[in-house]
Amino acid sequence: MSNQKEITKKDLKKIEDYLYEIPKTFRSDMRVPARVYTDEKMLDQIFRDRSLGQTVNVTTLPGIVKYSLAMPDVHEGYGFPIGGVAATNIAKGGVISPGGIGYDINCGIRLITSQINYDEIKPYLEEVMNQLYRDVPCGVGRGGELKLDFAELNKVLEEGVSWAVKKGYATKEDQEHTEHNGQMLEANPDNVSKRAKERGRGQLGSLGSGNHFLEVQRVAKIFDEEIAKVFGLYKDQVIVMIHCGSRGLGHQVCTDYIKTMMPALEKYKITLPDRELVCVPFSSAEGKKYFGAMAAAANYAWTNRQIILNTVRQSWERVLKGKVKDTGLKMVYDITHNIGKREKHIVDGKEMDLCVHRKGATRAFAPGRPEVPSDYQKVGQPVLIPGCMGTSSFILVGTEKAMETTWGSVCHGAGRAMSRSAAKRKVWGATLRQELEKKGIVIRCRSNAGLAEEAPIAYKNIDVVVNIVCKAGLAKKVAQMVPIGVVKG
């Protein structure tokens, strides 16, 4: 990092409203330019950490196509920035980088609609949140209820949500409304180490910790009635949002492959400005092996969120049966925001086979793409953007412009703006809890300190982030939600 040139505002060229570029000439090792979707004000915030330097580092990846991208929620990560997107051309030696996908492989968001409105749940909200907090395992070191043997875990890794359907944890509709149908067929459980399996076998169905959460929300605003109807959304409806990933299994897969790929850098004559960007050609033996393991971890993560949904359904039923007219919970969609995917995109008029890295970025496919579920074909893929605790979350849909310019990708959330320790110095957890409770939000979490770390002040303004991607034409707003209950690990 020390050898890297400092970036100033003068190095940025405005391409169009909300889009800026650091040209290829900025640093001699850049293969393509670096681009950032932002506005003037947010740009100041982005300059406060090293995220733009990291976006520039990504441009050095062999086989990278067009540019490395940073979304408006971009913040400093390790290797790639969080909010980073990069595609490499597989046929031309394009690489896959485990650090460009992250340790929490297939961390993602699941959105579920209830069939009741806010007034109906209000008298029972505390009871519902207590039940969810009791039933859904969360926090550091807490695993799930299921303890799988290695043979059964291998089936989860290979089959993902298809396994959950067979076992009765998922409906067919749940699966159809999951990105990639909750099963990447490239998964190879044999490529996942025993260590990763040891870490993951007792954690299925658990939230974990950090910024992971389970929220009960109320639909506060509908921007597009027609699309909202297709997704089964209406104003004042109660919905549930789940945010978590592949737990220790995914973390270990990434750790294992970063270690084994290091010696391969020399073999493929790859020079990088940051070792955390370690990568190998997608088509190489090492690349294929990692992709098989990553896909298996992704299948694990989708199954993890599915098992949590199954638990949520039981808790919901237990508290609300006989009290409200309908206790059903329907899947709207499940998206991943830490993944590498093999996708076909049009590059300069020609179809190209790409490895798209989305690190803290969400797929946002336009109407008509075959990957979009059949009942959403006409409107596009739901894009789920959680806000930070106590603020709004959004549902968007992908657009054709996103397909053309960002490999069908947008932001993944508000994006942090302040370190966890700074947040704890500025905010008292107990005061924050009181403030949120005054707003009518029921909080169930392990510690007030943990709550303070995730205080809204520590994040960028989600409304601004979402407005930038929408004004840049990458997505369209469908609905806005506000939290009424939070379970945090």
């Binding site: 913040h75 390790y78 550091v140 040891e198 973390h251 966890r420």
Partner: protein, 138 residues
């Protein structure tokens, strides 16, 4: 001399550690990592160590060895749910490490560390003090 300090990082955990030699540096950064996970356990050193583990690692170079050492300890912590509070490194070269570590059952765990990363990692000697900064994904 400070053993380690927790630096400001927007989203993750960044620990800078010091040592009069490399062995001490490796031990101090490991202590900083476990302190971040469970400060109460690391502060209350009087708890009788409950689990002893032997570690043997080989890596391509010194920086890789440091990352592998920390990730090895994280793996052990995740499997055994032990916070390691005492580290005895018997062998340390640029590519090999052998150690014995003592773990205790944690009092309370505060932070979930996913992994130690290579991001910006450099082990260097300044004014006779060895130092390194490691970014952890949390």
């Amino acid at each position: 001399m400070k053993k380690y300090e927790i630096l400001e990082h927007t989203a993750d955990l960044e620990i800078k550690a010091y040592g009069k030699d490399l062995k001490e540096l490796f031990c101090n950064i490991a202590e900083g990592m476990f302190y971040s996970i469970s400060p109460k356990t690391v502060k209350a050193k009087m708890i009788k160590p409950q689990k002893r583990e032997k570690i043997s690692i080989s890596s391509s170079d010194r920086e890789a060895l440091l990352v592998d050492w920390l990730n090895e300890l994280l793996y052990l912590y995740n499997i055994s749910r032990q916070i390691y509070i005492d580290f005895k490194i018997s062998k340390l070269t640029d590519t090999e490490l052998e150690a014995e570590v003592l773990g205790v059952t944690p009092e309370e765990e505060e932070v979930l560390i996913k992994a130690a990363t290579y991001h910006g990692l450099k082990i260097e000697k300044k004014d006779e003090v060895w130092q390194a900064t490691v970014v952890f994904d949390i």
